[in-house]
Symmetry: C2
Subunit: 342 residues, 2 copies
DNA sequence: TACCGCATACAAAACGTTTTGGAAGGAGCG
DNA sequence: CGCTCCTTCCAAAACGTTTTGTATGCGGTA
């Protein structure tokens, strides 16, 4: 069965192609009688007709294609969640997603965007693998564009990022609520918004609780398991060691668990731990389970595309942009307990 | 600057659209003089002209679009690697990838495939998140189709999967080479090709070394950290416990590490460990690092699209299919040592 | 000189839709 | 009865390309 086109339907239904188009479209239904409309629809489904979107896209100047350009899809396991959220939102509204990954190659990203544009995408999501200021590739902006896990300092594009400060506040409050007062913080040594934001959140939560900030309890380490290890060695080696530690992310907490075990410290009785990411394999895999604040990747991906489609379809007022911060819910497992008495 | 079309170039270069098309195309160059050809090309790049692929796709019956339908993109962190390999291979040859994820909903997958087909994709990759027999959605096969991390028992489609037996042999040989003779195996309890294949590989490697198969050393557990824990408890609790354990995957090895630590067993001195997946965050995060056989997701994704394009472009003989098995290289870290003397 | 072939350029058709502008016919009204 | 107004349908143009068929002019050959 070769491809069936609108002409085939017209022939089979013994009407003109115009009538077929009107019968099948939602818009101009009034131009065809209910009977023929029904008849045409039956014939169409019988033949298995589905309009060629290349042709309709050409005619309507609307491809129902969205581009998703990202710096690194593969490097983090969260990518899947972001992409999935984006894809779901797109599909639900009748769009399809085209994906390119530049592997942090800037020139390549430009070319990939050009390729997307050649395919007449109706809009573009520019995604970054961790919260950062976006270098938006040239040519974006020729179609509606939304930033995902990135922001534009000039505010020319809508964007969505996690609320780092709130996430850190949530994490630290969890420890405060359990009664801890000496709370260490293993931060990320990289100079990125997440590091600054989480430090601010850490300080705010402490200050809310009337606890003075002690720079000696904060250490900046590589964002990896090894960084967690060295941070833990420093913090847990102190004479007056903290009774709880807040980690920049789950990988660092992983390293912290290892060092704690080596030192004979039991989690959570001797040491409470909270971190950010809620990366299942680690947080669920560690024993006891790691209490962690989730970065809402799925939700952000979904929001980005939803916003993009609103801009494309003119639902959103023209030219207006929205800078969205997403809340980060905490997922409690077994790594927090009150400090040892005394 | 509104979109610039071929007419604009023609006008600016003071030639006909035909000439522009010929000048820019590789095919019919002989129909235009070298001078005009050069002139047209200059004007085109000056104006920033790039042909509308919707239009050319309509005319040429070739969209330069590929569909990638998958059951679960987000559930495993490897997805990124497969998708990236596929995307790279596609982009390098001038194609773009459209992505859909069904979340294991078969009806949805059918509909998504239909949507892809409406967009006139030139071919489809059907990807599965772990090696399995594929339920190919209806409608695939109307365009060239390749299976990724899945196989078709009838052989009507080309496919690529990891060589499970070889992977297990490689892993177990690593332990044998270190001198181990009592080697436990924590297998996956699910009845899937990977479990059967890896068991076969385990037995082959033992038999090569002249070691009798001991069913008591093999346990089938849930494919998760918790499964690794319970398997470890069983294996390491034995009177004559194994000196080395081969795990189905890194997550199980993660659980094994935890139990070994609780029992006071040092890795690798008291216990050697090898597994499969080479999932960086775990294998690199564990201490000591976990020696693991890598599943070549990137390479398989790349192969699938390369093969698909060969079929589309007629490079591959018509109707012929290829069932590909990919080799799995071992990545050595610190979890293997000779057994304790005595 | 008359003819042919070649190099170069262009007009027009086609790809599969959607939509505009009528046309044909019947009903309602004065 | 004649006019207008609906209803229902259709022909044709348009979207931006690519490609086929053809026209023009020129040099070379008989």
């Amino acid at each position: 069965m070769g491809k069936v086109g609108i002409r085939d339907v017209a022939k089979a239904a013994e009407v003109s192609v115009t009538t077929v188009s009107h019968a099948l479209s939602e818009a101009n239904q009034h131009r065809v009688s209910p009977e023929t409309r029904e008849h045409v629809r039956e014939v169409a489904t019988t033949l298995g007709y589905a309009p060629n979107r290349l042709a309709s896209g050409l005619r309507n100047q609307r491809s129902y294609l969205l581009g998703l350009v990202s710096d690194e899809i593969a490097s983090t396991p969260f990518a899947g969640e972001m992409i999935l959220g984006a894809q779901d939102a797109a599909y639900e509204r009748g769009w399809l997603l085209m994906l390119v990954d530049s592997g942090r190659n800037w020139d390549l990203e430009q070319k990939q965007l050009a390729a997307l544009l050649q395919h007449q995408v109706d809009g573009v999501v520019v995604a970054r693998m961790y919260h950062q200021e976006a270098r938006v590739p040239e040519g974006a902006g020729r179609v509606p564009t939304v930033l995902l896990d990135a922001f534009d300092p000039e505010g020319s594009f809508s964007s969505v990022v996690p609320d780092e400060e709130a996430a850190a506040r949530t994490a630290v409050r969890e420890l405060l609520a359990a009664g801890h007062t000496r709370i260490g913080f293993i931060n990320n040594a990289d100079d990125i918004p997440a590091a600054a934001g989480r430090l601010a959140g850490y300080r705010e939560a402490l200050s809310e609780a009337g606890i003075a900030y002690d720079a000696g309890l904060v250490t900046r380490e590589a964002p990896a398991v090894s960084g967690g290890r060295s941070g833990a060695q420093r913090l847990l080696g102190m004479a007056d060691r903290p009774t709880a530690v807040f980690c920049f992310h789950d990988r660092q907490a992983f390293g912290l668990y290892e060092v704690a075990a080596q030192l004979g410290l039991t989690i959570p009785d001797d040491l409470s731990v909270v971190s950010i990411d809620n990366f299942e394999i680690i947080a669920d895999g560690l024993w006891p389970g790691l209490t962690s604040v989730a970065l809402p990747h799925y939700g952000m991906g979904r929001w980005a595309v939803t916003r993009l489609l609103d801009e494309i379809e003119g639902v959103a007022p023209d030219g207006e942009t929205v800078q969205m911060r997403f809340d980060c819910p905490i997922v409690r497992r077994g790594s927090v307990a009150p400090p040892r008495a005394g």
